[in-house]
Amino acid sequence: MTSKHQTHESGFVRKYIFSLDHKVIGLQYMFTALTFLLLGFGFVLLMRWQLAYPGKAIPLIGGWLSDTLAPGGVMLPEFYNQLGAMHGTIMVFLGIVPLGVGFYGNYFLPLQIGAGDMAFPKLNMMSYWTYFVGGILMLSSFWLPGGAAQSGWTSYPPLSVIAPSGQTMWLLSMTFIITSSLFGSINFIVTTINMRAPGLTWMRLPIFVWGQFVTAILLLFAFPVLQAGAILQLLDRVAGTCFYLPAGLVVSGTLLERVGGGSALLYQHLFWFLAHPEVYVLILPAIGIVGEIIANNTRKPLFGYKTIVASMIFLGVLSFLVWAHHMFLSGMKTSLSRIFMVTTMVISIPSVAILSCYIFSLWGGSIRYRLPMLFALAFLPMFGIGGLTGLPLGFLPTDIYLHDTYYVIGHFHYVVVTGTLVALMGGLYYWFPKMFGRTMNSFWGHVHFWGTLICMNGIFFPMFIQGMAGMQRRLYDPTVQAHNLSTQFLSPFQFLSAMLLLVFQFPFIINLFVSLFKGKKPVENPWEATTLEWACPSPPPHGNFTSLPKVYRGPYEYSVPGQKLDFIPQNKES
């Protein structure tokens, strides 16, 4: 049975819903993850309203909310905490990672290594559907008695153990997400090791593939540890164990009749052992995409390819040795803090190396300011701010003051939103012609880019100022505390920026759907790129390549002296 035959015979369900084709699964991931991103963003809009105008009724939609969440349209603290926990969980586990790994990895990793599909197509399909079920379970928890999880996305016990039933659902849902990620990472690792086209040696892999490969390894090793932590928490909640509970807890005046003996800090160690590598899971796919776009639009090879690859591997390894820098003030041994400060400062070096290599890549280039390039260029200084503001948080004396303030929130949103998310959006404009054989509208793309970039900074930069004034995170109403009043005037501005950010996503969403059907048809390989994904038709058929591509050179042979064209595809025999 040939592949063409297969697609003809299978019906709609097999073709678009339970498809085994990595490209269809990739697109399923893309649309689901984008929906979750929008939803998570919607949650934070409600929160920003409450922060900007505490105690005022939410306009327009406030009346729709039930009285258990927002009587008279005024948000209750329990609702605020639910939104906060769900915003974090959805953005990280159901939005960015599925977009960066599930979508980009699934769609482009096989294409870039010249493979017909992933190594285990059925496992790939199961990975998407377990993720989907996990996501639905997570959202359904809002309808449980007591509402969704409300102990923050970190779910520290004992608070999470005594929380309402939404927390149990959170843990179950995380189990689905972790299983999905396990299926995915096994697939990515085996595919990358085993299915590279002939001639595609490790040092000829595009940076994007390296990013995905290291990411998959991080997911493989880090997630099981959170799974263990989640199972222990689940047992504490439902089976009466005390892994995280010491003896003699008194909750709202009643003594908990438990044997105790457990440690609240144990969970934090297990959680951050996952959640720090998770940061690199968020950022490495973005770094990969930015590398592709920069090489393509400077029309020259990336500066220091080997340094970048080595830095990615080093980041991956070291990311398992820095987790406790989230716990400097948790009450763990102070001597441990010293060790983790040193490893944290060390891990900044490979990040600096990658960023400098990208900036040096501009030198001597012939820069084309196409739309994807704008996103990639914006990534550099934005990720720079995110990275630099990490220094005072990893540094013991300053972390004493800044820990758990809005400074932290600003820091990681610069990394994950203005950094990663901007790069992921750029990747979409870059690869849209590949996926659909059409181009997205450039004018509306520019509107989307500038609007998004400015509004994002409008939300996140004031957070550094608020953090410096000492404003703690996760406060339902910051104005209750005197030290937060001096920077409260920034909150309405942040709310306005967030609303405008929403407005500027509409050109993107409309552009995406209109271009799917009506976009201009580009020539083959419109960006004149060198990597293998452009060696097959757009959109690629089932099985991708008509014949097995052979690779003769590195990934970024642009502007090679003495050649007529300024690019030589990897599969071109010279």
Partner: protein, 253 residues
């Protein structure tokens, strides 16, 4: 009432002995960050203009491999900056704030008991000995659960949401929690420490100003996290003595 002029855009006033050291580290780091960002930014902007396709129609293949060891200059500079920071600021200041504690003799010792959503403070009275606390004896009149049978507790007194301390003497807090994790945070003192159930975490500070300063909870502890606030009241030594006597008299009645 807390003086609103304690707070502006930027850091609050510094009111403890080690606050200035934290501020110094923060300033050095922030200006270092700005310097790195500006240097990067200038180079970046120069490249964006100088090497745009209009100004540089054909890219240089060789540029990707030029530079050699020089390209590691940013890494080396950042590494050097960080090593200096760690050894000259990070470790010594950390040791001073979190690892060396004043003796009980020379300081004002207070037991802190956090709960959803209040701060309880237990003082030892004249004998310097604290009564044990028993979770079984917690009631609305005895929120921190002082053990009524402990003779050391005769002169112990308690204040809720107000920590009274004298000027000119370090205060040593032993912190524990009844229910969930809280975090003791006084912005003016530049001090923060999680309060963990099942643990007894020590913390010290020495105020340099009299007045009232805010205690906030910095770790999500439930619905009332945002309103879990208290105040540190810093007295002159004489005033502190007066307050203490009043408190002990209240107890006898």
């Amino acid at each position: 009432m807390i003086d609103p002029s304690n707070y502006t855009v930027g850091l609050p006033i510094a009111a403890s002995t080690y606050a200035s050291k934290v501020d110094l580290s923060l300033n050095i780091l922030q200006w270092g960050m700005v310097a790195i960002f500006v240097i990067w930014g200038i180079f970046f902007t120069y490249c964006l203009v100088r090497f745009r396709s209009r100004n540089n129609p054909s890219a240089s293949y060789a540029a990707a491999n030029k530079g050699g060891a020089l390209s590691f200059l940013p890494d080396v500079m950042v590494l050097g900056f960080e090593i200096w920071l760690i050894f000259f600021l990070g470790l010594p200041i950390w040791a001073e704030i979190k690892e060396t504690f004043p003796t009980a003799m020379e300081s004002n010792v207070v037991e802190l008991v956090a709960e959803q959503y209040a701060w309880g403070f237990q003082y030892s009275g004249d004998d310097g000995l604290f009564a044990k606390r028993d979770p079984k004896q917690i009631s609305s009149g005895n929120t921190i659960g002082l053990d009524a049978n402990d003779p050391n507790g005769k002169d112990d007194y308690v204040s809720i949401n107000e920590l009274h301390v004298p000027l000119g003497k370090p205060t040593l807090l032993y912190m524990s929690s009844k229910d969930v994790i809280h975090s003791f945070f006084v912005p003016e003192f530049r001090v923060k420490q999680d309060v963990v159930p099942g643990m007894r975490v020590p913390l010290w500070f020495e105020p340099t100003k009299t007045g009232r300063f805010e205690i906030g909870c910095a770790q999500l502890c439930g619905l009332g996290h945002y309103r879990m606030r208290g105040e540190v009241v810093v007295h002159t030594p004489e005033e502190f003595e007066v307050w203490k006597q009043e408190k002990m008299k209240e107890k006898e009645i």
